[in-house]
């Protein structure tokens, strides 16, 4: 490894530190320098924790166990809805800036740092995570590292820009309807949305309790697996976190495709997809010799996820809507006010449909191990672009970039988003597994990476 750490993986960095080829402090200083140099362009970071990061890096360098830490000295950053001790958790909003500083780090930050990782800052996001664009009225848009006139995707837009732009090798984000997978697709990086309930959400700002997930972004499958592995495990501080012990994935990444049955979605998941989305999907499907199946009633699933999101989100923010409506981004406010007015009967219907749909999709996994689907219908739209045309219909970008991710997170399935390095802009493919089988999705992603079918393209910055 050279002294340029801006495109090294976390795994390479940890190995170099473990073998004394470099130090955690040197890597941290390099990351902080890159953040200072690139943030004016990419607008990924809203807070940089330089002194905290240096102190942690020195502690890693002094640790007699550093060779045993899987993420020794690996810089990472978090979407600014994670609590970071000492700063308010803004969740992309103006309103939360008045909150007192968080007293304790989010559960996942604690687990990452226990494994040797070094938190360097907090990342831009769409207001209160109700967003697929990565734009933010208060902090300005995060910018796509492959074309800074284009969106990162959201709502974890800063996470996409920071990892895709070589500022950190690993970032954490949240995904309620696609907010890890959409920016992964648009920024050309890997993202893991684990099974609902797998990773603790303790001390993160919520959006939709029924659908909220947290997970990692990275530029390699191994980094996804390493970070995911150290973040697993039950946590009584999150009522939705499953009482399930850690199931390691990193040791099994290289098992290849032997014995795996792979399917690719047709129907709903091809309707509206651009040529780029289909090129990426078909290329991955061909590399894996996938057979086509159809996920039943996916359009209705997306509709039900939409309804649950707007109403639960409105319930979360009802008091703020009453008292501080003018302080919201109007695009978020008006969606939430409409959500507050939705009849409860229709929300219960959506939750009834959710169980039926889950049973239908789980039945598909009797005959396959993973299912492929596009991650986004298009490559990154222009910042500020309000509408796009899908299948001949003009639709709002903000609500429709996630049409292929919503029917999957709706029932909590684990997904690895993998980047296909098309020119001029990358686009992602979802690798979807049955609940609790993150290991299979990661294994298929690793096989694709090994054969060169997917990779995180390096931008010219």
């Amino acid at each position: 490894m050279s002294n340029d750490y801006t495109w090294s993986t976390g795994s390479e960095i940890a190995q170099a530190i473990a073998t004394d080829k470099t130090t955690a402090l040197a890597v941290t200083e390099a990351a902080l320098s890159v953040i200072v140099a690139r943030n004016p362009t990419l607008n990924a970071f809203t807070a940089v924790a330089a002194e905290r990061a240096r102190a942690k890096a020195k502690a890693v360098d002094a640790s007699p166990d550093k060779a045993k830490l899987p993420l020794a000295g690996v810089p990472f950053a978090v979407k600014n809805l994670f609590d970071v001790a000492g700063i308010p958790t803004v969740a992309g909003s103006k309103i939360n800036r008045a909150h007192p500083p968080a007293k304790r780090d989010a559960g996942l930050i604690e687990r990452m740092e226990k494994a040797g990782a070094v938190l360097v800052g907090a990342l831009n996001m769409g207001e209160y995570a109700y967003d697929f664009t990565g734009e933010n009225l208060h902090d300005g848009p995060s910018r796509n590292p492959h074309d800074i006139s284009r969106m990162t995707g959201g709502s974890s837009g800063g996470s996409g820009a920071a990892v895709g732009g070589g500022m950190v090798p690993i970032a954490l984000g949240s995904d309620t309807n696609g907010s890890i997978r959409v920016p992964s697709s648009l920024c050309g990086i890997f993202g893991l949305k684990p099974t609902y309930g797998r990773l603790t959400r303790a001390r993160s700002f919520p959006f939709v309790a029924s659908l909220d997930h947290l997970g990692p972004f990275a530029r390699s499958v191994r980094d996804l697996a390493l970070s995911y592995d150290v973040m697993q495990g039950p946590d009584a501080d999150d009522a939705g976190c499953a009482d399930r012990q850690k199931e390691s994935t990193a040791p099994f990444l290289d098992r290849g495709l032997d014995g795996l049955r792979i399917a690719v979605t047709g129907g709903y998941f091809r309707k509206g997809a651009s040529g780029e989305a289909l090129t990426a999907l078909d290329g991955v499907a061909k590399a894996l010799n996938a057979r086509e199946i159809e996920i039943p009633e996916a359009a209705r699933a997306r509709a039900a996820a939409y309804v649950i999101t707007t109403t639960e989100g409105a319930a979360l923010h009802l008091d703020r809507l009453r008292k501080q409506a003018a302080d919201f981004d109007p695009a978020v406010r008006d969606r939430l006010i409409a959500g507050a007015m939705m009849p409860a009967t229709l929300v219960v219907k959506a939750q009834i449909f959710r169980r039926w749909y889950r049973d239908q999709v789980l039945a598909l996994f009797k005959d396959c191990d993973v299912i492929l689907a596009p991650a986004t219908p298009v490559t990154a739209p222009k910042i500020g672009q309000q509408t796009f045309t899908l299948d001949g219909v003009e639709l709002p970008v903000r609500a429709n970039l996630g049409i292929y991710t919503q029917p999957i997170s709706f029932i909590g399935l684990p997904v690895v988003a993998v980047p296909v390095a098309l020119k001029p802009l990358p686009i992602g493919v979802q690798i979807i597994a049955a609940p609790w089988r993150e290991d299979l999705a990661l294994r298929v992603a690793a096989a694709l990476e090994q054969m060169g079918a997917v990779s995180a393209p390096r931008p010219n910055l």
């Binding site: 707007t310 009453r322 409409a338 009849p343 229709l346 219907k349 959506a350 939750q351 449909f353």
Partner: protein, 60 residues
Amino acid sequence: MPNPPLDDYIAAASAALDLPVEAAWMPSIKANLEVSLRLANLVSEFPLPDEAEPAPVFKA
């Protein structure tokens, strides 16, 4: 299903929920509510048996 008279509905819901709505916000709120209702009706028109349970199940 014809569009419900949403202007009246929004005004009534605003009052019932003590949720102030400025006149300038109305077109956007109405457009969002129309989309949400259309999608909700797409779900609710799907026939399921009376015994179908909602996804969240409370455990005492």
